[in-house]
């Protein structure tokens, strides 16, 4: 394993995050190697890296997910480390392991820690043990309605019954009070039995309109952990985040301090290193419940960078070089203002159908408090093989209101012609009175798109 400063890093990713990592490396004086599929031959990360290698055909399984190709590319270019970006191999413990055995530093947590965070039940059990709040519920299968009634009484209503084997809403019942429980319990069991051949159900606290709140953590390889201010990512459609911000309009300093303390302890105990994000649901009373941990850099990391001034990707690389967090952060973390991010996707803003194709006209907004992370340019082609993220538009303001107004004007000045984008959808979100007031939850998009349905938040 090379120690000390990296001379050369391979970026095992594509799109805006590959460009983001290349930028960080350039600023650290590190040479970069881009890898690309045949479909990405003309992508920006190929252009801006010091070296670029084609590693396979368009299909991810044979290029960006193909471990032997990537390790081979790393070996023939003689890199010290691999940055996996997000998605693809970023949370693949096996890949991290292969890097390690190949003598290449994987810029991320250790394989065993990635493995822990990947198994949700284990991660939750660990967090619970560490005193981080998780969603209360039954430890295993409920035998009968009485057992359910007793547990629900302890947890408090509403609760949700879920099929143990299930998914997709089958065998699920939201229970508002004790009177309804026995009947719904039987229904859930019957539906679960019919759908999954086992009638086993379990019970969990139900949050009707949760906010999605997450904490960015940075941990060095010497045991120091720092918890950065939270992001709120409640504006989602089918679990795809559309708008993120920091700080959350729903947080306060007391809760922030409590969470930071609990997470610092948990991360240190887990031996967590590098960057990661701990995701929570927040209920209507402002209480947080751990849901999962992402052991990689997050798409929405720029909002945290904008308010703290900390370069998270450079921090990742420097941590992997063995540097100490104290030298990287140089002083206490301070928040200035408010930041918003809109994920500009290549998709029809009404039908959400992906919209691949050639960008015939492209104009990026600039000016004060505006940041754009993208890989596209005039005349480039958005291939249909990968995710639809075209650009991240991030704004910063002295407060949330200014960040929103700035985002509005930046959206006005963002011109992408030739394909459909989600820009009109983002305009609608920003104009919504609930958004303006900071009344956010994961059901927001569903209500905005189908106001007639009093939809249960997804």
């Amino acid at each position: 394993m090379p120690s000390g400063r990296f001379k050369k890093v391979l970026i095992a990713n594509r799109g805006e995050i590959a460009v983001r990592v290349i930028s960080a490396c350039k600023e650290l004086g590190i040479q970069t190697v881009a890898v690309y599929s045949e479909a990405d031959r003309y992508s920006s990360h190929v252009r801006f890296a010091d070296q670029a290698l084609c590693i396979g055909p368009a299909k991810s399984a044979r290029s960006y997910l193909d471990q032997p190709s990537i390790i081979s590319a790393a070996e023939i270019t003689n890199v010290d480390a691999i940055h996996p970006g997000y998605g693809f191999l970023s949370e693949n413990a096996g890949f991290a392991q292969v890097c390690e055995t190949s003598g290449i530093k994987f810029i991320g947590p250790k394989p065993e820690v990635i493995r822990l965070t990947g198994v949700k039940e284990q991660a939750r059990a660990f967090m619970r043990k560490m005193g981080v709040p998780t969603l209360p519920g039954s430890e295993g299968v409920l035998q009968n309605p009485d057992e359910a009634l007793e547990l629900a009484g302890q947890i408090g209503y509403p609760v949700i019954l879920k099929a143990s084997a299930g998914g997709g809403g089958r065998g699920m019942r939201v229970v508002d009070g004790a009177a309804d429980l026995p009947g719904l319990f039987t229904q859930a069991q019957q539906e679960a039995g019919a759908a999954f051949s086992t009638p086993d159900v379990y019970l969990e606290k139900y949050i009707r309109a949760p906010r999605h709140i997450e904490f960015q953590v940075l941990a060095d390889e010497h045991g120091q952990v720092e918890v950065l201010p939270e992001r709120e990512c409640s504006i989602q459609r089918r679990h795809q985040k559309l708008v993120e911000e920091s700080p959350s309009p729903a947080m306060n300093d007391r809760l922030r301090g409590e969470m930071a303390a609990a997470l610092k302890k948990a991360m240190a105990t887990a031996g967590y290193t590098n960057a990661g994000t701990v995701e929570f649901l927040m209920d209507e009373q402002g209480k947080l419940y751990f849901i999962e941990m992402n052991a990689r850099v997050q798409v929405e990391h720029p909002v945290t960078e904008f308010v703290t001034g900390i370069d998270i990707v450079k921090a990742q690389i420097r941590i992997a070089q063995g540097e100490r967090l104290g030298d990287i952060l140089r002083g206490p973390v301070e928040v200035r203002g408010h930041a918003l991010e809109c994920r500009i996707n290549a998709e029809n803003p009404e039908t959400f159908a992906p919209s691949a194709g050639r960008i015939t006209g492209f104009h990026m907004p600039g000016g004060m408090g505006v940041r754009v992370d993208t890989w596209v340019y005039t005349d480039c082609v958005i291939p249909p093989f990968y995710d639809s993220l075209v650009a991240k538009l991030v704004t910063h303001g002295v407060d949330r209101a200014e960040a929103i107004r700035r985002m509005n004007r930046a959206l006005d000045m963002f011109i992408i012609e030739g394909i459909h984008t989600s820009i009109p959808l983002h305009r609608r979100i920003l104009a919504h009175p609930d958004f303006q007031a900071g009344r956010l939850d994961t059901g927001f998009i569903g209500r905005m798109l189908s106001p007639e349905k009093a939809a249960i938040p997804a």
Partner: protein
């Protein structure tokens, strides 16, 4: 035209980045339109020769684009690397090369080795022909799809 020939044409369309490819051979005809291309754009040849087209200069692999261009001569077939790795002309440093330029080869003849992750992958000829040129130096790293040999079909 066989399915394999059509597959080859699709690969060609993807490699060269054309939006649409139409081929007629006698009474057989194939038309391929790639995803993400509108019909107006049929006539655009290479992708993005406008804004910026090449990787940064000084890239060791910068010539790969030319190498993957289809040869003008339809009988000259390029043998391309199916994996990323290091090219070796022979089975060991002291051994003779598997093939030399001018040699006649049959399908299945081992042409070279690509080492990838300590594994030696033998690359075989798929057609019968004469090795017209070797395009890579011994010990040189190669990327996916990089042309290794040109073989003239006979």
């Amino acid at each position: 035209m066989t399915v394999d020939e059509i597959r080859e044409l699709i690969r060609l369309a993807t490699e060269t980045g054309v939006a649409e490819l139409e081929v007629q051979r006698g009474e057989d005809r194939v038309r391929i339109r790639r995803a993400g291309f509108t019909s107006q754009e049929i006539t655009i040849g290479a992708p993005a020769v406008g804004a910026f087209s090449g990787p940064a200069s000084g890239v060791p692999f910068e010539t790969s684009r030319e190498r993957t261009e289809p040869p003008v001569d339809p009988n000259l077939i390029l043998v391309k690397s199916p994996i990323v790795g290091t090219f070796y002309e022979g089975p060991s440093p002291d051994a003779a090369p598997f093939v030399s330029v001018g040699e006649r080869v049959q399908p299945g003849k081992v042409l070279c080795i690509i080492e990838s992750m300590k594994l030696m992958n033998e690359i075989e000829a798929e057609i019968a022909g004469v090795v017209e040129s070797r395009l890579v130096m011994n010990g040189q790293p190669v990327e996916y799809g990089e042309a290794l040999f040109a073989i003239r079909a006979v």
